[in-house]
C-alpha cells in the first residue's frame, strides 16, 4: 500500500501541472496513467502538431510541452505508475483506498481526476463475433509473436502498426494486409517495404476491403471481407489483427459514484471538487458553466484543485497563500533556495 496525500489520475499536461501545484504547497502525490508514457493526448494524439495558445509560449509541440512540464515538476520526484489504470476506489474513514488493474494499492486523502476524455484503449472491429475470439485469435496488439509462426495472419489497418507488423510477421507467417483504401498513412519507407514484399510474394495486399464477418466455432476458420463495390471475398486465416489506433473510454470512472453529464464530471469552480468529497476533476474531463477545453484552463483548474486537497491532507493546518517569487517555503520545495 502506497501512502500519499493525493492520487492524480492522468499524466497529461493538466495532471502534470497539478503535480507542480501540489508540490509547491507541500503535498505529496502519485500519478497513474493508462498509457506507457507521460503526456496524455499531447503525446498520444499530437506529439508533432503545434500548439499556439499556451501563455507566454508562442508555439510548441505536444511533445515539447510535455517535456517542459516534466522538467518543471522534477524537483518533486513524483512517482509515475504508467501502463496501469485505476480500477476501484473505496472510502475508508477519511481516506480513499485506490486499486489499479495491476494490483497496486494507494491510500490518499484526495483523488484528482485529470483523465482527459478517458483512458486510451484500442479501437476494435465492429463485427460482433470478434469479441468471442478476442485475446485468442483476434488481437489489437501483439504480445507474443511466436504464436503466428507458419500461420496465416490477416492484418487490418493502414498506419504504422499495421505496416510494421505486416513486415515483421512476413518472415515466418503467411501475411495478408487488408485496408479500407489504396493509400496507407504509415511511414513512406514502410509502405515501400510492404509493396516490395508484395512483389516478392511474401505479403498479400488487399485494399478497399473491410472485415464483414468471421466464421469458426472454437477457432477462426475463415473471414469474409467486403470490397467497396459490395463484393465479398472469403479468406482462410488463423489469426486476425486490427490496428485502428486508440479511442478514449471513461472506463471504471463511471463506477465511482460521480455525477456525470454525458462524458463529463460536473465540478464546483471554487475547488473543482465533484459530488464526492475529496474527489476533484480537472481538465477536459470536468464541466461547469463556461467551461472551455483549453490546456491553460486545465492549469488553472489544477492550481485550485491542489489547494482544495489541502484541507483533507492537512486538516489541522491552514494553507497560507504564497508567491513562488518570494516564498522561502516554495523555493525550498523547488530546491532553488539561494
Amino acid at each position: 500500500m502506497i501512502d500519499t496525500d493525493v492520487l492524480v489520475v492522468g499524466a497529461g499536461p493538466v495532471g502534470l501541472f497539478c503535480v507542480h501545484q501540489l508540490g509547491i504547497i507541500g503535498l505529496k502525490c502519485e500519478v497513474v496513467d493508462n498509457l506507457d508514457k507521460i503526456g496524455g493526448q499531447c503525446i498520444e494524439l499530437y506529439p508533432d502538431k503545434p500548439i499556439y495558445d499556451i501563455p507566454a509560449i508562442s508555439e510548441c509541440t505536444g511533445e515539447e510541452l510535455t517535456n517542459n512540464l516534466i522538467k518543471q515538476i522534477k524537483p518533486f520526484k513524483t512517482n509515475f505508475h504508467l501502463n496501469d489504470r485505476v480500477e476501484e476506489i473505496s472510502k475508508k474513514n477519511k481516506n480513499w483506498l485506490i486499486k489499479t488493474i495491476k494490483g497496486k494499492e494507494f491510500k490518499a486523502s484526495s483523488i484528482i481526476i485529470a483523465g482527459g476524455v478517458g483512458s486510451f484503449e484500442p479501437r476494435k472491429f465492429s463485427v460482433k463475433e470478434c469479441e468471442k475470439f478476442e485475446g485468442k485469435e483476434v488481437f489489437y496488439s501483439v504480445k507474443d509473436k511466436t504464436i503466428f509462426k507458419d500461420k496465416t495472419v490477416s492484418i487490418f489497418g493502414g498506419g504504422d502498426s499495421a505496416l510494421d507488423w505486416a513486415i515483421e510477421l512476413s518472415n515466418n507467417s503467411n501475411v495478408k494486409l487488408i485496408h479500407r483504401r489504396d493509400e496507407f498513412r504509415g511511414a513512406e519507407s514502410s509502405v515501400n517495404k510492404v509493396k516490395q514484399l508484395e512483389k516478392e510474394g511474401k505479403v498479400e495486399i488487399l485494399t478497399k476491403y473491410q472485415l464483414s464477418s468471421i466464421e469458426g466455432k472454437n477457432k477462426i476458420e475463415s473471414i469474409d471481407i467486403k470490397h467497396d463495390d459490395g463484393n465479398i471475398k472469403k479468406i482462410k486465416t488463423n489469426y486476425v489483427l486490427g490496428f485502428f489506433g486508440l479511442i478514449m473510454q471513461l472506463g471504471p470512472i463511471l463506477n465511482w459514484g460521480l455525477n456525470l453529464d454525458k462524458k463529463h464530471i460536473p465540478v464546483n469552480t471554487e475547488s473543482f471538487e465533484t459530488n464526492q468529497k475529496g474527489i476533484f476533476a480537472i481538465g477536459d474531463i470536468c464541466t461547469y458553466p463556461g467551461k472551455v477545453k483549453l490546456i491553460l484552463s486545465g492549469f488553472h483548474e489544477g492550481a485550485l484543485a491542489a489547494r482544495g486537497c489541502f484541507k483533507y491532507a492537512r486538516p489541522d493546518e491552514k494553507l497560507r497563500f504564497e508567491f513562488s517569487t518570494t516564498s522561502k517555503n516554495i523555493q525550498e520545495r523547488l530546491g532553488v533556495k539561494k
Partner: protein, 106 residues
C-alpha cells in the same frame, strides 16, 4: 444559417438550424444530438464525429484536407461518403444538408 438534418442510426431524424461558421459537429453537440461524440473537440484527432454525408451533398462539400482521410481509417465502418463533421463548416450553401450517423463512434 443552414438547416441541417442529422439522422441517427436508428432512423430518428433531427433537423436544426445551425449558424454559419460553426461546424456540422458543433451544431450537433450544441443541440444535444446523440451519435456524435467529438472527443477531441474538433482538432481532427479522434474520428468520433464521423458522419455519412448523403450522396447528393457529398460532392458539393469542400474536399478533405490532409489528415482527414487518415483519421477516417480509424472511424467505425467508414465508407466513401464518410466525413469528419468537425471539418464541415456551415455556410448558406449547406442549406438542407443531410448526414447519417454511424451505429457508433467507437
Amino acid at each position: 444559417m443552414a438547416k441541417i438534418t442529422y439522422i441517427e442510426h436508428s432512423g430518428k431524424s433531427h433537423t436544426i438550424e445551425v449558424q454559419n461558421g460553426l461546424t456540422v459537429m458543433e451544431g450537433a453537440i450544441q443541440n444535444n444530438i446523440p451519435g456524435i461524440d467529438a472527443d477531441c473537440g474538433g482538432s481532427m484527432a479522434c474520428a468520433t464525429c464521423h458522419v455519412y454525408v448523403k450522396e447528393e451533398w457529398f460532392n458539393k462539400l469542400p474536399k478533405k484536407e490532409d489528415g482527414e482521410e487518415d483519421m477516417l481509417d480509424m472511424a467505425h465502418e467508414p465508407n466513401k461518403f464518410s466525413r469528419l463533421s468537425c471539418q464541415l463548416t456551415v455556410s448558406d450553401e449547406l442549406e438542407g444538408i443531410i448526414v447519417n450517423l454511424p451505429e457508433k463512434q467507437a
